[in-house]
C-alpha cells in the first residue's frame, strides 16, 4: 500500500538556519496525525513542504506517490490536497461566502451550481451557515479561522494539512472542529500541527513530536504519556524548581524529572511526556 506521505532525508535551510533536518517520515492513509512542537521547531516548514508550497533544500518528498518538485505532478497533488496556513489573511471587504467561493474557483470548481453547493456544505461543516453572508471585517477571529478551515475542506481532499487549526477557537468550536476532522480521518488523512497537547490527546491516532527540526517521538498519545511513567511525583519538599514542578488543581505540587526515593508517583499525562522530551530529560526509546 503506497503511503500518502513519504520523506527521505528531508532537509530545509534558510540561510544558515536548518529548520528541518534529515527527516524520514511515512504517513499511511486514514486517521489523524498530530504534530507537536514548540515555536521554531520546524512544524510550519515541514507542513509547507508537504503541502507543496515550499521546496526542500535536500532530500526527497513524495505525496500520493508523486513528486512536488515536478510541476505537473505538483498540480495533481494539489487537486487532492487541502491546506490551512498558519496565519490566514482574508480580504476584509468580502463576505465569508465570497472568500470560500473564490478559493473554490482556484480549486478549479468551474460549475456555478456545484460550487454553490460545495461552498454551503463546507461553511455548514464549520458552523458558519448563519454568518456566511457577513463581511469578513465583521467576523470575530474564531470565525475567520473557521472560514479558512472551510476553504481547506473544499472538495473533500484526500489529505488535509492544517497548521494550528484550533488557534483562536473557543472550546465549543474546538469540539466541533474535532468532530469534523475525525470524520474526515475516516476516509482521508489529516495532518495537523498544534501547541496544545489536549488537542492531540483528544483525537489523534498518532503523534509526532518535532524538536529542532527532527522527529523525537513517533507513536500513539498513550505511548507519549507513558514516556513519563515513573517520572512524575508529588513534591512535598516545600522547595521546588519552577521549571519542573507546579501546583496542580487540587493544591498538591506536581513535579517531573527524577523522583527522590520513596516519592509518591503520579499517573503521567501527555503533557508530562512532552515536557520530558522538550526539556531533554529523557530520550524516546
Amino acid at each position: 500500500m503506497s503511503a500518502v506521505v513519504a520523506t527521505r532525508g528531508l532537509t530545509r535551510r534558510f540561510g544558515r538556519h536548518v529548520a528541518v533536518a534529515d527527516l524520514d517520515l511515512r504517513i499511511d492513509r486514514g486517521g489523524v496525525v498530530g504534530l507537536l512542537g514548540p515555536n521554531g521547531s520546524g512544524k510550519t516548514t515541514l507542513l509547507r513542504m508537504l503541502a507543496t508550497v515550499l521546496s526542500p533544500s535536500a532530500g526527497e518528498v513524495e505525496v500520493f506517490g508523486l513528486d512536488p518538485t515536478r510541476s505537473d505532478e505538483r498540480t495533481a497533488i494539489r487537486r487532492r490536497l487541502g491546506y490551512l496556513p498558519q496565519e490566514p489573511t482574508l480580504y476584509a471587504g468580502f463576505t465569508a461566502f465570497d472568500v470560500v467561493d473564490y478559493v473554490a474557483v482556484l480549486k478549479e470548481m468551474t460549475d456555478r451550481a456545484v460550487r454553490q453547493d460545495e461552498v454551503r456544505r463546507v461553511l455548514g461543516a464549520v458552523g458558519l451557515t448563519d454568518a456566511m453572508h457577513k463581511k469578513v471585517r465583521t467576523l470575530s477571529g474564531g470565525m475567520r479561522q473557521r472560514v479558512a478551515i472551510a476553504c481547506a475542506l473544499l472538495g473533500t481532499p484526500d489529505l488535509l494539512v492544517l497548521d494550528e487549526p484550533a488557534s483562536g477557537l473557543d472550546p465549543d468550536q474546538r469540539l466541533q472542529l474535532r468532530s469534523v476532522l475525525s470524520a474526515h480521518g475516516q476516509s482521508g488523512t489529516v495532518l495537523l500541527s498544534t501547541h496544545h497537547t489536549t488537542e492531540v490527546a483528544a483525537f489523534c491516532q498518532r503523534v509526532l513530536v518535532l524538536l529542532d527540526g527532527t522527529v523525537r517521538f513517533d507513536g500513539t498519545p498513550a505511548e507519549l504519556a507513558h514516556l513519563a511513567e515513573g517520572h512524575v511525583w508529588v513534591d512535598r519538599s516545600g522547595t521546588h524548581d519552577p521549571t519542573r514542578s507546579w501546583v496542580s488543581a487540587d493544591g498538591t505540587v506536581r513535579a517531573i524529572g527524577s523522583p527522590p526515593a520513596g516519592a509518591e508517583l503520579l499517573e503521567p499525562t501527555i503533557d508530562d511526556g512532552y515536557l520530558l522530551l522538550a526539556r531533554g530529560l529523557t530520550v524516546a526509546g
Partner: protein, 178 residues
C-alpha cells in the same frame, strides 16, 4: 442570537440587515405562510403567487436596513409582497406613479383601527351585506393598504370607480351599523 427568549420580529429584521441568514430563515418561517395564503386569496395563479412571495423575501433580505417602523414588520413584508404581485400582473409603472405608490401602510392602519370591529361580528355582518364589488374595493384599499390607483389596477377598474365605490361602501356600512 443568544437571547433566551424568542427574538421579536424587529430584532430579527435588524439581524437580517446585518446579513444574518439564520434570522431571515426565522422570519421566513414566521411570515411566509400567512403572506402566501393572503396573496392566494387575491390571485388564482399559484405560479405568480410563489414567485411574488420568493421575490418579496429576497427583497426583505436586500433591503432590511431600510425598514423604519416599530412592530409592523408583518405589514411591511405584506406591502412588499402585494406590490411584487402587482408588478407581475402588469408591466412596470412609469416613474411618477411608482413614486406615488411609495406610501407606507400607515394610512391603512388608521382606517383599519376603525374597522377593528370586524372581529366582533357586527361589522363583519355589515360587510357581508355589501355587494361583492363594494366588498372587493374595501378589501383592497383598507385591508390591503393599497392606494386608489393600485386597487384600480388590481381590480381592473378605473380609479374613479374605486373612489365612488368606496364612498358607497362607507355609506352602506354606516347605515348598516346605525
Amino acid at each position: 442570537m443568544d437571547e433566551r427568549r424568542e427574538p421579536t420580529d424587529d430584532e430579527l429584521l435588524a439581524a437580517v440587515a446585518d446579513h444574518d441568514r439564520g434570522a431571515l430563515q426565522e422570519l421566513h418561517r414566521r411570515h411566509e405562510p400567512w403572506v402566501r395564503a393572503r396573496l392566494t386569496r387575491r390571485c388564482a395563479d399559484p405560479q405568480a403567487v410563489e414567485e411574488a412571495v420568493q421575490d418579496a423575501f429576497l427583497t426583505v433580505w436586500q433591503t432590511a436596513g431600510r425598514y423604519q417602523g416599530a412592530g409592523e414588520v408583518g405589514a411591511w413584508i405584506w406591502g412588499i409582497a402585494i406590490r411584487k404581485l402587482l408588478h407581475r400582473l402588469r408591466p412596470r409603472k412609469p416613474l411618477l406613479e411608482r413614486l406615488r405608490a411609495q406610501r407606507h401602510v400607515d394610512v391603512a392602519s388608521a382606517e383599519e383601527q376603525v374597522l377593528v370591529g370586524i372581529e366582533h361580528g357586527r361589522l363583519g355582518a355589515a360587510l357581508d351585506g355589501l355587494s361583492p364589488e363594494l366588498r372587493a374595493v374595501v378589501q383592497a384599499t383598507v385591508l390591503d393598504g393599497l392606494t386608489t390607483n393600485e386597487a384600480a389596477r388590481l381590480l381592473g377598474i378605473p380609479s374613479g370607480t374605486v373612489k365612488t365605490r368606496m364612498l358607497r361602501a362607507r355609506r352602506d356600512l354606516r347605515e348598516a351599523l346605525a
